[in-house]
Each structure stands twice: as C-alpha cells, then as structure tokens.
Symmetry: C2
Subunit: 163 residues, 2 copies
C-alpha cells in the first residue's frame, strides 16, 4: 500500500478537465495509477474552466454588444458544456473508483489562471492534466496550459498524454 | 485499491535522478504517492546520466587533450558520483517501500536524450523527475530537462518540485 496510506494523509488530487478526450484520459490514468480507491481519504477535485465570453465588438460597426437574448443564449451554452463535461468526468470516477470522494469546481476565464488559483486555494497535493485539451488556435493564443502550470504551480504536476 | 492492481499490470516507473536533492525528493514523493508497495509488480527504474566529459581544448594552447592520467581521474570521479547518487536513491527506495523492485541504470551524456531513450527502451509507464536537478549554467546550456521530456516522451510525466 502506498506510504501515504500509512501516513493517513488526506490527498486532494486536482484534475483539470475540458471538452477534449485527452483530459478524460488523464483523469482515467490518474484514477488507475495514483488514486487508491480503497483509501477513502483521497478526494478528486474536478476543475473545468468555462471559456471567457467572446464579444465581437470589432465586428460590430455600431459598437454595440450583442442583444441580451444572444448573451443569455451564449451563457446558457457555456453552462451546458460545463455540466456536460463535469458529468462525463464524474461518471469516469464512479466507473473506475466508485468509492473515491469527488468534488466539482467550475472556473471562468483563462484556464491557466483558473487552474493555478485552484491549486493554491484548495492546497492540492498533485495537479493532473492532459496536454492537448485546447485546439491549436487556443493553444497558440493562450500558450500551453500544461507548460504554464508545470512551471508556475508549486505542487507536483502529472501530465498525461493520450498515447 | 488502484485499478492497476485489479488489472495486475506490471508498472515500470522510471525515475530520473541526479546529484540534486530535488530529484531525491521527487523519488520519495513518487514512492509515497504512486508506488503501491503492497503491489510487488511495480518496478522502480532509477536512471542517472553521467555528464559528458569536458575537454578544455580551447584552453589548451597546444591543442593537446588532457593526459591519460587526468582523463582517467575525471572518469573515476564521474563513476564515483554515479555510484554515490544511485546508492542514495536505492536507500530511499528501501526506506520507503522496502518490497518494491528497484533497478539501476546509468547513462552517459545529455540527460534529455538519455532519459528519452530509456523511457522508450524500457517502455516506462510513467517518468518521474524533479525540475531543478541542474544548475543555472547547465540548464541554460541544456535547456530545461523536464520541459524537454514533458514535451517529447509519450508516457505520462510526473514533475515534482521541492516546495
């Protein structure tokens, strides 16, 4: 049994999830290889970052923002995606380690900052993430989320690629 | 119990070690949090990369290399350090998970390539490493070993910082 069980330490395992399959693979790998589901002291914290709202003011000659209806529709979509992604991750946790404690957190904005802040806020023991959770354009714009986190967060970082 | 135990999969956990304390901390963390010492199927593979020989030909006006004695002395020192570092890591493994299988490998040259090649050669299930195992000058020259490995190797990479 892992030493941590002998120490009886409660571990908080923060897993950054997104719409991509790779983050779900990273979650599965961590559940199979890091989480000891016989150890009820582990807590998986699933973190999803909702992308920031996009206001195409530069495409809006009148410089008006979208109508309230459009904004409400966009917001509903963002929330629906957040629910869908977290529900999918919750099912993976239940299927692989049905007795592990799981918490869901949803952030808003740049995933790099959302993840960094959550690691600090909850005092994560380890951060688990994939590497290609964001499309090429988003990665180019954001920079690599995993690179940023691997450098900035203080806790161990487990980067799982889908081979 | 972790799924891997149910699956009965033999895991090869490659841990890159060096003279720095951080790599020993990374090893300890992995032993406490990833290795299930009750699972005799885990194998820890300790990998140390001997730094390349340095021939100061540019400082040698005669363009002669060092004498055979000096080269032999340098080589002995490199080997002594390799033994010292691997012995230290072996003791940590025994102290934390005395029933886990441990193998020692020693490479020669650029640690980035040595680590990458060993991950592929042994089919590592996960690569464990610290982030600051090399001094500023070496890092500047080599680039970050952990950055390189995190991008290039195909298996999951666990980067452990000494907090």
């Amino acid at each position: 049994m892992a030493e941590v069980l002998k120490e009886g330490k409660d571990r908080k395992i923060l897993v950054a999830i997104d719409e991509g399959e790779e983050s779900m693979y990273a979650l599965s790998w961590a559940l199979k290889n890091v989480v000891t589901s016989a150890n009820s002291k582990d807590t998986i914290v699933l973190l999803y970052s909702k992308p920031s709202r996009v206001m195409y003011t530069t495409l809006d000659d009148t410089h008006n923002l979208f109508s309230a209806d459009v904004v409400a529709t966009m917001e509903k979509h963002r929330n629906d995606v957040a629910v869908s992604v977290t529900e999918k991750a919750m099912k993976i946790c239940k299927d692989l380690c049905d007795d592990v404690k799981v918490e869901r957190r949803v952030g808003d904005g740049d995933p790099r900052e959302v993840i960094y802040e959550m690691v600090t806020k909850i005092g994560a023991d380890v951060l688990v993430m994939g590497t290609h959770g964001y499309g090429l354009i988003k990665r180019t714009f954001l920079g690599s989320v995993s690179d940023y986190c691997a450098h900035k967060v203080k806790c161990p970082v487990l980067i799982v690629k889908r081979s």
